[in-house]
Amino acid sequence: MPGDIILKMENITKRFPGVLANDHINFDLKEKEVHALVGENGAGKSTLMKILYGLYHPDEGTIYIKIDGELKPVKFKNPQDAIRHGIGMVHQHFMLVYGLTTIENIILGYEPSSVIDFDTARKNIEKIMTESGLHVPLDVDVEVLSVGQQQRVEILKVLYRNAKILILDEPTAVLTPQETEELFTIINRLKEQGHSIIFISHKLHEVMEIADRISVMRKGRLVHTMPKSEATKEKIAELMVGHPVLLDVPRPDVTPGDVILEVKDLTVESDTKGVMAVNNVSFHIKAGEIYGIAGVEGNGQAELIEAIYGLRHPKKGQVIIKGEDITGKPTHIIRKKGVSHIPGDRHKFGVFLPFTLADNSILGHHREEKFARYGIFRRFSNISKWAMEIIKKFDVRTPSEKVPMSALSGGNQQKFVVGREISFDHDLMIAAHPTRGVDIGAMEFIYRQLFEEKKQNKAILLVSADLDELLLLSDRIGVMFKGKIIKELDNTNRQVTPKEVGYYMLGGDLESHNGGDTVGGEQIA
């Protein structure tokens, strides 16, 4: 049971040029407590945590930490200060050095003596591992560990530095449902041992499962703190966006039409020669249908999309769009045949940050007569008009189409990309992680847009790491594991459960049903 308050943040205010990131925030943490911090992107969660971890300095306000039984004000100059006061942070993006072993990663920067005494370190770490239940092989390169295991290493790092207070920043974003459950077991165990945890998440059902108290942030303010007993998912969502959100967006009833996309025996080589990232994959999508692809990231989803979209040459098999074989055609031809694509990594693929919105609005279609006379001389007035249409129709918040993309917030950038891809003539929409890194408001907006697409009889291929999203949107779900679609689930009436998908995401019943024949690239019978 939670005990006394061990951390108090009082009136924390942080201003950035033009933005009030934290507005007089009061936040506290009790002993043996999991305190969840939720809020949209840009609500100020990260800023608050960076202040607590010594990365930022507050403009106003004080942090108190319990030292020798009483709360004392402290000032953190840097993370080392924070660590010394027992605060540890597990970042969303792991801070591990590949090429070093687990044990080396754990003690890095905190070695027991100048000549590294591995034996003492190992003893300490093993003690922590048995106490917390965090078991990881210590003598292997961290690179070979699974994502879940790497996260454990991150938590071990923090515990090794004697942290009492753990900040977990979106820890479940990269985990499968099963791994998430294991993480929760560990969190509960750490709690019992006297640790306190600040748990940052987007996923409301997880927050409801793990948290003792929940604080909701919105636009730089902490709007409400409540014990779990008073919280419901709907209430949290409402507090987050300021108005009730229908996360359960109604699915339009559309009878599937002709087959738009057909993928036959597609085999695609990964970046490592000889290893097939996609292995004999076949499926089809009809007009007005949303086909979801589930899977732990790195099981061939990215390569599958790249092969369909013409960025990667398939080794074998066919991609057929509206009866026409487009296998191995270049991207601009494939786009012309009616394929739109919302890329998974917006900054890497979807936009040119220094370019204006106008320039970003025509990507992939910039050679069309509408945007360039003879395909060469650019028609700036048409381009501007086109960009303005997207901006208006998709509610992108910007003063004009002449500002650089980098000036927009992430959610608005994504809205712009989604809007652009929807606006071009197309029959097939490939949506990869369409709501990654956007807030609930934008998320709902994008869901509605995808359903609108469905109503327009487009075929939609949806790849997402967010199971809730897949289950909400998809008519059928193909689960990818080691380059194969090992299971196709009918979700027409939303009857599939996350557990079911999760089961197949980890390889499921491959052994029992298929006799263990064709798993992975190497042992094809």
Partner: protein, 383 residues
């Protein structure tokens, strides 16, 4: 919704802000120059002030202005050549070798294949331009193919090609093309070009209505440079070729996603950069000298890289930067002549301008993007 004028002034504001860095670079460098001269003249303030007056005079005398333009011309072409590659994210360090070979190929045309009738002078000039571009492109071809097919880094290959270019030029001048006659000068050179090919002086073309004295080395090649810069400007800012080059230089992944074949665009940018580099020294070869020799002004290619850097890879910026270089050189000669201040002082100052400008522009870019974000955030409610 009437915010069109506001938009324009805003973009103008950002344009002005982007000029801060070069101005800061020049001002701080001028200060440094002041102290350097003070040091060289053993603390004599009056001498130092006089030196600055000499530099000021460089900008007012027609003779010096003529020299500034003449010296800026090859640098501007060189800057443009480098800028095209830079915009695509390619480092063409080989402009140096490319102008040696461009000049060589054009010279072979001039000596053996040109039309001897003076009536066809303009046709000859056009062919000289085409062959110079061909030669430059040819020299860029090997690094471009290696880059496209095997991903070999162009910095390494182009630097090596520079060395080969110089020795190739030397071989041709001393061997097959040698035009040194017994009893004449010992300077290795080719045969003189026929008069129907060599570039005319602008002074002669304008029949004395030209503002600069006759001895200023300004030739028809100035037209070539002007036309080139105009065309490149149009291509960069008004065509999809320029747009795709810019895409690739900014974010190759997003370019690929947009259906732009990255290798092909890099290949083309490299070739065009080389082709333009072939034109760099036509002024000296076909104007001043009238024959080809490997003993011509060297380093124009490397200077062009600096010019492109200071000019933000923008054709207009490149022209301004080239004029700045022309000014610094001309002023440097005058300082040496009048006060015995070593000419290399100016090279030092040039380098310093670049360093200060790069630092200032990093800071300015950060400031500008902050300002932009702020504007978008505050303006977000308007709509």
């Amino acid at each position: 919704m009437n915010k069109l004028p506001k938009k324009k002034t805003n973009n103008f504001k950002y344009f002005l802000l982007s000029l801060v860095a070069p101005v800061v670079g020049i001002v701080i460098s001028a200060l440094l120059l002041f102290f350097l001269i003070l040091l060289i003249r053993k603390g004599s303030i009056s001498d130092t002030l006089y030196a600055f007056r000499v530099m000021g005079k460089t900008l007012t005398s027609t003779k010096d202005l003529g020299y500034i333009i003449a010296r800026a011309e090859p640098l501007a072409i060189s800057g443009i050549a480098a800028a095209i590659a830079f915009r695509a994210g390619v480092f063409n360090i080989g402009t140096e070798g490319q102008y040696y070979i461009g000049g060589l190929v054009a010279s072979i045309y001039a000596i053996y294949f040109s039309i001897k009738s003076p009536a066809f002078h303009w046709l000859n000039v056009i062919f000289v331009v085409l062959f110079a571009m061909l030669g430059g492109a040819l020299w860029a071809l090997i690094p471009a193919i290696l880059k496209m097919k095997k991903g070999v880094h162009e910095v390494i290959t182009t630097i090596m090609m520079n060395q080969i270019a110089y020795t190739t030029a030397k071989y041709f001048v001393n061997g097959p093309l040698s035009g040194v006659k017994v009893g004449e000068s010992l300077e290795p050179k080719t045969l003189d070009f026929p008069p129907s090919v060599t570039f005319h002086k602008l002074y002669d073309i304008f029949h004395g209505h030209f503002p600069f004295p006759k001895y200023i080395p300004l030739y028809e090649s100035l037209f070539i440079a002007a036309i080139l810069i105009f065309i490149v400007y149009i291509i960069i800012f008004y065509t999809n070729w320029g747009f795709e080059i810019e895409m690739l230089g900014t974010n190759p992944n997003a370019a690929k996603y947009s259906g732009v074949p990255p290798r092909l665009v890099v290949f083309n940018a490299m070739l065009w950069s080389g082709a333009i580099a072939g034109l760099i020294n036509l002024q000296e070869i076909f104007g001043i000298k009238g024959y080809y020799t490997h003993h011509m002004t060297s380093g124009l290619g490397f200077d062009g890289i600096a010019v492109a850097l200071i000019g933000y890879n923008n054709p207009i910026g490149v022209v301004l930067a080239a004029l700045l270089f022309g000014f610094l050189r001309t002023a440097g000669y005058n300082l040496q002549f009048e006060l015995g201040i070593p000419n290399s002082t100016m090279d030092l100052i040039t380098g310093f301008i670049i360093i200060v400008m790069v630092i200032a522009s990093v800071a300015m870019n950060r400031y500008i993007s902050k300002l932009r974000r702020k504007e978008v955030l505050s303006g977000a409610g308007d709509r």
